[in-house]
């Protein structure tokens, strides 16, 4: 079974530039998560989708971050404009979905973003 795919693996940008990350979840997984993990901290949920609807985006800095999952499969996370404090690993995860038997979420390899 293919895992959660993310790209790019690494990205270095200057502050005030824009960046986008892509995630392809495990086939058949209805729930998709984007997490931000700053060095030395646990992952922090940015946004959770159930199919193409948003379940929770309460911690997403909406003035600069946006995410979409238009067809309920792939998702993109965008930062515009980036700040130095956005330097982190951005993890995408997926799970079977709300109301279905829960085996935990499966994570992609993440994208390491460095803002200089």
């Amino acid at each position: 079974e293919a895992g959660v795919a993310q790209s790019p693996r690494y990205k270095i940008i200057e502050k005030r530039q824009s960046v986008a990350f892509w995630c392809n979840p495990i086939s058949g997984h209805a729930t998709l998560y984007w997490y931000q993990q700053i060095l030395g901290q646990g992952p922090k949920l940015l946004i959770q989708f159930q199919n193409n609807g948003v379940v929770d985006d309460s911690q997403l800095p909406k003035d600069r971050f946006s995410a979409e999952r238009l067809k309920g499969v792939d998702s993109t996370l965008k930062i515009q404009p980036a700040k130095l404090e956005d330097s982190a690993v951005y993890l995408c995860a997926s799970s079977l979905g709300v109301g279905r038997r829960w085996f935990g979420a499966f994570f992609g390899q993440g994208t390491r973003l460095t803002v200089v």
Partner: protein
């Protein structure tokens, strides 16, 4: 505010030692507690615990949950250098498979 606390934050042991990692939580509408191992970047799923007092085991790893005292422990016996990683505790709360992570425990196993 929902909170997950892990201790210790870092730990250095030698191969063969046994370690116990702690996770305590304060969340609304607790549903389950999950342990993950994070090497490099991607956390990998270890255990999911929903009931108190029932130990889950996988090889040298085991975990148990106490829902009355709101904590869980992860034990690793006969540690190996390959156990070196960050161990993350996550608690599913409310509904909708929404969960919050603790800061992690960084375990280093020396040969």
């Amino acid at each position: 505010e929902d909170k997950v606390v892990q201790s210790p934050l870092s730990l250095v042991v030698h191969e063969g030692d046994t370690v116990t990692l702690n996770c305590s939580y304060e969340v609304t509408n607790f549903r389950s507690l999950l342990w993950y191992k994070q090497e490099k970047k991607a956390p990998t799923f270890l255990f999911m615990l929903t009931s108190s007092g029932i130990e889950k085991k996988s090889g040298r790893l085991s975990s148990i949950l106490d829902k009355k005292e709101l904590f869980s422990i992860l034990n690793i016996t006969a540690t190996q250098t390959g156990d070196s990683a960050v161990y993350l505790c996550a608690v599913e709360h409310n509904y909708g498979q929404n969960f919050v992570f603790g800061p992690g425990t960084r375990l280093s196993v020396l040969p």
